[in-house]
């Protein structure tokens, strides 16, 4: 459903670690029932501060967020991913992610790239020195390229294939409907039901 192959854009350096999903989108914006329309909610509390990096004119229009480690920890809210996408981000680069956030990002085609701290710091420095410097995130070749430097990254092969092909995961699973039915026939009768 959501495809990602190669993306080139400008980046924003977010020099913070442990950016939890409560910061990415504060809870008061979770009262919406759609997948879209969350751009203004992104980092809403931090954006109150004029000095916050997303408010700086040189980073307007950026499509790649470069953050510190443990990005997206905490609550499972997929709103965090939707808000990043709505704002215009196509990829995040950080040393490590909260597990559920990472999975949610993959589900929505927002690429969570894992680079070592050293590489992230280099990117921060380069982007701060030249905010319009193009950064390329290449899922085909599994590399991030910027100013002639190339940083390799890893992603589970099945997730990579799925993103490259843009496959609908539910449709994929439903191809195993027979196996699921067979499994169900073998379940113990004593297992609880809700109805």
């Amino acid at each position: 459903m959501y495809q990602f192959t190669v993306h080139t854009g400008s980046a924003v350096p977010l020099r913070r670690s442990n950016v939890d999903t409560d910061q990415i989108i504060p809870v008061r914006f979770l009262n919406r029932s759609q997948r879209t329309g969350h751009a203004d909610s992104l980092f809403a509390d931090w954006r109150d501060d004029p000095a916050f990096v997303l408010n700086q004119p040189q980073y307007q229009g950026a499509t790649i967020l470069v953050a510190g480690t443990e990005f997206g920890t905490g609550s499972s809210r997929e709103y965090a991913v939707w808000a990043l996408l709505d704002y215009g981000f196509r990829a995040v680069i950080a040393p490590r992610y909260g597990d559920i956030f990472r999975e949610n990002a993959l589900q929505n085609g927002l690429l969570p790239v894992e680079l070592p701290t050293g590489a992230v710091e280099q990117l921060w420095d380069r982007v701060e020195a030249r905010p319009d410097i193009p950064v390329t995130v290449d899922l085909q070749r599994l590399s991030v390229r910027c100013a002639g430097h190339s940083h390799p990254f890893a992603l589970e092969e099945h997730a990579r294939q799925r993103l490259l092909a843009g496959e609908d995961r539910i449709a994929q699973t439903l191809r195993h409907a027979e196996r699921i039915a067979a499994f169900e026939r073998g379940r113990r009768a004593a297992l609880p039901v809700t109805t």
């Binding site: 499972s76 559920i100 092969e157 539910i170 699973t173 195993h176 699921i180 379940r187 004593a190 109805t195």
Partner: protein
């Protein structure tokens, strides 16, 4: 290393449950896992139902799915209308979606309503060896029963609704062994805060944690739920405790349990669920319970926790540059000066409740402290039951009366309340609370709110003292 079901080497409890649920193993390394129980709440689900409708899909197993209302619901009075139009709409959608797809829903006012992670165990739906998912990170709570329980996002909710399965990469295994015995006055909450302070917010990442050891065996089911609840705060996907007599005793008192020979059969199945003696964990830590004391968070993530006896740390105490800058930022937000004894920190509010500590045992612990005492002037103590059943039980046991006499605000309806800050219960900017919830993130309990995570006993003592305190300080 292990070789699937009962192969050549020992398996962990988590591996056994996992292997029993694999529908299909893909070449890419993903396992298609069957889900035994799918719980829903109103906030993270409307988009999943929209997705189903758009694709013309049905819910495969409504009979393995259950909805509840907990995040948006008012707690002051059951008949109260949700004021925020967006939240009200979400609750209406929950009702219409469940009706349309045939999913049972425990609405506000139903005696079986409550926080999603509280009612699963209470209703006897959470049992050892099951796979349980919910659109909420604290689904890990239910690992206390020796079930594989974890939080998922909305897209995965849609996937489970449509297929009753999830395609997942199997996490590694981590053992957290707690030897010794918790001293008097030290609870499961203090224990888990100590664990997270030790291993950090990413210490369990990519792993399922199995809690084991003497101190874990000695915990009640409620205590084990508190422990597994906050597993996610250590970055872990899920936490498990092997079922034992304590588990069986709890289950035997649940509704809908099989009886006679069928019960015996279940017991045999459940008690076989334990890590083999030669099971290999990818990593582990060992902690001694004997030396523990009440813990409290000082910063803006749960890993930033210390003993209540300690003083606010200084950024200079941290050698890691990242931790140092995190600490400086956290101290600025939380408004504390390094060197201040934690006991000198005054609070405006105290919140007792949430899926971490909103069960009857937690309310009993609070009542034991509050009996014959008064909440300090200027402090608002709000107590919110984790479920309607917890509220009813608290009345039966006379706890409600203890709370009323102490001047506490014991809420009529169950829900997440001031843990989610989605309903009207929230702190004002700059207000400081001692809270039995699980997250002290910036703004978690309302924009600009400051949270100190504590146990129910410390929360109650703090409400009486007006500053962070243990019952022994009163």
């Amino acid at each position: 290393m292990n070789f699937d079901d009962g192969g050549f080497m020992g398996s962990t409890l988590a591996q056994k449950i996992w292997n029993q649920h694999v529908v299909h193993r893909s070449a890419g390394g993903d396992d298609l896992l069957y889900i035994d129980l799918h719980l829903l709440h109103e906030v993270n689900t409307p988009q999943a139902f929209d997705g189903l409708r758009a694709a013309g899909r049905r819910v495969r197993r409504p009979d393995l799915t259950l909805g509840t209302e907990d995040h948006n619901t008012p707690t002051v009075a059951i008949e109260r209308v949700i004021r925020d139009p967006g939240s009200r709409r979400q609750s209406e959608l929950m009702r219409s979606n469940c009706a349309e797809f045939g999913i049972p829903l425990h609405r506000l006012g139903d005696p079986r309503q409550g926080i999603v992670h509280v009612i699963g165990p209470e209703l006897g739906l959470t049992r050892p060896g099951m796979t349980i998912v919910c659109c909420d990170s604290h689904t890990t709570t239910q690992g206390a029963f020796g079930a594989l329980a974890f939080g998922i996002g909305t897209s995965q909710v849609e996937h489970v609704l449509a297929t009753q399965t999830l395609a997942l990469h199997r996490p590694d295994d981590m053992a957290v062994t707690i030897n010794g015995r918790l001293p008097e006055g030290v609870s499961a909450k203090d224990l888990i805060l100590a664990v997270i302070a030790r291993i950090g917010t990413s210490g369990g990442q990519g792993h399922i944690i199995e809690y084991r050891g003497e101190a874990v065996s000695a915990l009640s089911m409620e205590g084990r739920m508190t422990l597994c609840n906050m597993t996610v705060e250590a970055g872990s996907r899920a936490g498990v405790v092997a079922p034992d007599d304590t588990t069986l005793d709890y289950l035997s008192r649940r509704p809908g349990m099989p009886s006679g020979p069928q019960w015996d059969e279940e017991v045999a199945h459940w008690t076989a669920l334990r890590s083999d003696p030669d099971a290999v964990f990818h990593k582990g830590i060992v902690l001694d319970a004997d030396g523990l004391s009440p813990y409290v968070s000082w910063g803006t993530n749960p890993g930033q926790s210390i003993p209540l006896d300690a003083r606010v740390p200084s950024p200079d105490d941290f050698t890691d540059p990242q931790q140092r800058s995190d600490a400086a930022r956290a101290l600025e937000y939380i408004g504390l000066r390094p060197g201040t004894p934690m006991r000198d920190v005054p609070v405006d509010a105290v919140f007792i409740g949430s899926c971490t500590n909103g069960r009857i045992e937690d309310l009993r612990a609070a009542a034991d402290v509050l009996r014959g005492r008064r909440v300090a002037d200027g402090v608002h103590l709000i107590i919110v039951p984790g479920s309607a059943a917890v509220r009813a039980r608290a009345e039966e046991e006379g706890l409600a009366e203890v709370f009323a006499r102490a001047g506490a605000d014991f809420r009529a309806a169950a829900g997440c309340s001031m843990c989610a800050a989605l309903n009207e219960d929230r702190l004002r900017p700059g207000q400081r609370a001692a809270s039995t919830n699980n997250r002290n993130f910036e703004g978690r309990q309302g924009k600009g709110s400051r949270t100190h995570i504590v146990s129910p006993a410390v929360a109650a003592a703090t409400s009486v003292a007006g500053r962070l305190a243990a019952p022994s300080d009163l």
